[in-house]
């Protein structure tokens, strides 16, 4: 099986961005259908479809919706469009090409979880997509899809756009909530989980862009038809963001379970001439790196990638060829996590700083004997000791890069130069601070 345009069927049509164009291709036909259903029935359908959160954690969406307490408090639906995991850009494509698909999905989800107020939290740098969403929200409001008594159903729902201002941590759902509340985007202790106490301590559901957009197709085709794609435990299709040293980087929709090497060789046109595959980061910068050998039989579903000791994450595939120095690649990742640590928990704030310092000194030829082991030790001490997963996300690439490409790290320390780029050209973060 090759690329399947299930969610992205009409993404290549410019008119699909507008309300009129979206409707021409079947848009806003599922909302009236959903509004006539029992809310619980919609949740059951999403559960039966086995839709798993597309933001990174892969948590079953229907189950998340089922955690809301019946305490009569107002409920909020938040769309996580903070998309900041290095390597990930599929939500941007969805918002740019199909803003109404997201809005329709959100309205169905809001009806299912009985929320009358929803926000799209979009990262501040995404001004292009934010303009498109702003326009689409205005169109949907004018057409009566958003607001009071939607399509005569008696259901009210308002959707507003909230624009962030640059912070990776706001993609973590409780960090996102802190930011939406007007504070620093620092994550909160769980429990209570957002479904119980989220935005303004009210029951809140936070779902990724792609997750919410997928709901439209589940209502259209039903859970069983949705399961036609993907695997038993990872049903459906997924948009993968592929970047790095391939001929045709981009966003490709394939069924979950699709072979990684087919994705690279078929959809992405293979490696650059004369180059060979060295490694792949399969699920965004937080995911442990896979060696070329590990990629051979890898299939892109949550279970297979987990069995290889990594994570499918947000579906961000970074392809690394043999021209890259792994010490150098890790240096940009470690700089990223140090920069993005919110500073709340000591193991993360200090650990990300030390990891960056050690790698920085190796890359600049000042590495000392024992530094490679020290990296692993610091990374191990960061894992599982903090409020949110950022520290683990920062530690996992360190452990996997150093363990799987240890020879390159040892060589760099011993010879004060890269094994791959001995002349030092293009090497190192010359502009760290």
């Amino acid at each position: 099986m090759a690329e399947v345009k299930y969610l992205s069927e009409h993404y290549d049509k410019k008119e699909y961005r507008s309300l009129e164009g979206y409707k021409k291709h079947g848009g806003y036909e599922q909302l009236p259908k959903a509004l006539k259903m029992e809310a619980a029935k919609i949740i059951d359908e999403v559960k039966a479809a086995g839709l798993r959160g597309r933001g990174g954690a892969g948590f079953p969406c229907g189950m998340k919706w089922g955690f809301l307490p019946n305490n009569g408090e107002p409920r909020y639906l938040l769309c996580n469009a903070d998309e900041s995991e290095p390597g990930t850009f599929k939500d941007r494509v969805m918002m740019e090409r199909a803003p109404h698909q997201l809005i329709e999905g959100m309205l169905i989800a809001a009806f299912a979880v009985k929320s009358h107020k929803a926000y799209i939290y979009i990262r501040g740098e995404y001004t292009g997509p934010a303009m498109i969403l702003k326009q689409a929200l205005a169109e949907a409001k004018a057409a009566g899809y958003i607001g009071k008594n939607i399509l005569g159903s008696g259901f009210d729902c308002d959707i507003d756009l909230f624009i962030g201002a640059g912070a990776y941590i706001c993609g973590e759902e409780t960090g996102l909530i802190s930011s939406l509340e007007g504070y620093k985007g620092q994550p909160k202790l769980k429990p209570p989980f957002p479904a119980v106490q989220g935005y303004l301590r009210k029951p809140t559901i936070v779902n990724n862009v792609e997750t919410l957009a997928s709901v439209v197709n589940i209502i259209r085709d039903g859970a069983q038809a949705y399961r036609k794609y993907g695997t038993e435990k990872s049903p459906g299709t997924k948009l993968f963001s592929i970047s790095g040293n391939v001929n045709k980087p981009g966003t490709y929709e394939v069924p979950l379970g699709y072979k990684l090497m087919d994705l690279i060789n078929n959809e992405c046109g293979g490696m650059k001439p004369g180059r060979s595959l060295k490694a792949v980061i399969p699920g965004g910068s937080s995911a442990p790196v896979l060696t070329a050998k590990e990629c051979e039989n890898a299939s892109m579903d949550y279970e297979c990638i987990a069995s290889l000791g990594s994570m499918l994450g947000s579906g961000a595939v970074i392809v690394i060829d043999d021209s890259n120095c792994m010490v150098d690649v890790l240096s940009t990742i470690s700089h990223f996590y140090h920069h993005e640590s919110c500073g709340q928990c000591t193991p993360c704030r200090e650990g990300t700083g030390w990891v960056e310092k050690i790698i920085h000194s190796i890359v600049h030829g000042h590495g000392k004997a024992g530094d490679v082991d020290l990296l692993i030790k610091v990374a191990d001490n960061m894992k599982g000791r903090t409020i949110c997963a950022l520290a683990d996300a920062a530690a996992l690439p360190v452990t996997s890069f150093v363990t799987k490409f240890r020879g390159e790290f040892e060589y760099f320390v011993a010879n004060r130069k890269s094994m791959v780029k001995p002349n030092g050209a293009n090497l190192g973060d010359a502009h760290v601070h």
């Binding site: 290095p86 501040g124 001004t127 624009i163 007007g182 985007g185 592929i242 970047s243 940009t332 502009h431």
Partner: protein
């Protein structure tokens, strides 16, 4: 002493009631005030917003310092933010940044060029890895699929044209 314009004050008033709590309006109001102050958030900006929003200044300052898109120091007319994370790092983002800085005549990141036109920052993943290397000028839509040649030409064009940007999208958000 920074003062919000009359329209700016109206904007702040309307944003204050847009969300469930007025605290949630801080980010939007900071963007507005930063724009009115030539692209950066001075202490005066924070005090002016504190007064207009009736929110203690430290609460506004903590937001202004936490998020990278608020500049706590003056920037040039074109704040060029080059992505250098992971894929962009692999595809030449760091070298591109260094070349563009040299062309613009600045030595350090965060520095304003003598002609007042340019400030450069190395930024973290902007979510456009398939078009690496890439950059963002101010809050405009991205400039993508760059090469060293295109990057140099961009600096030259911005300088000779008096550097008019095609759009001013951020003003509408």
């Amino acid at each position: 002493m920074f003062k919000l314009s009359a329209e700016g004050l109206n904007y702040v008033q309307s944003e204050l009631t847009r969300y469930e709590t007025k605290q949630s309006a801080i980010i939007r109001c900071l963007y507005r005030a930063q724009d009115e102050n030539g692209g950066w958030v001075s202490n005066d900006v924070i005090n002016a917003l504190s007064e207009a929003m009736a929110i203690p200044a430290p609460q506004i300052e903590e937001v202004a310092t936490f998020y990278t898109m608020f500049n706590r120091k003056p920037v040039g007319k074109y704040h060029i933010q080059v992505c250098c994370t992971l894929t962009c790092g692999m595809m030449g983002g760091r070298e591109l940044l260094a070349l563009m800085m040299k062309e613009a005549g600045v030595k350090e990141m965060g520095e304003v060029s003598k002609d007042g036109l340019f400030t450069f920052s190395k930024v973290e993943c902007l979510g456009s890895c398939d078009t690496a290397p890439m950059l963002q000028i101010n809050r405009e839509p991205y400039t993508e699929n760059l090469t060293f040649e295109k990057g140099l030409k961009l600096v030259q064009d911005l300088r000779t044209k008096g550097g008019k940007l095609e759009s001013q999208i951020s003003k509408e958000l």
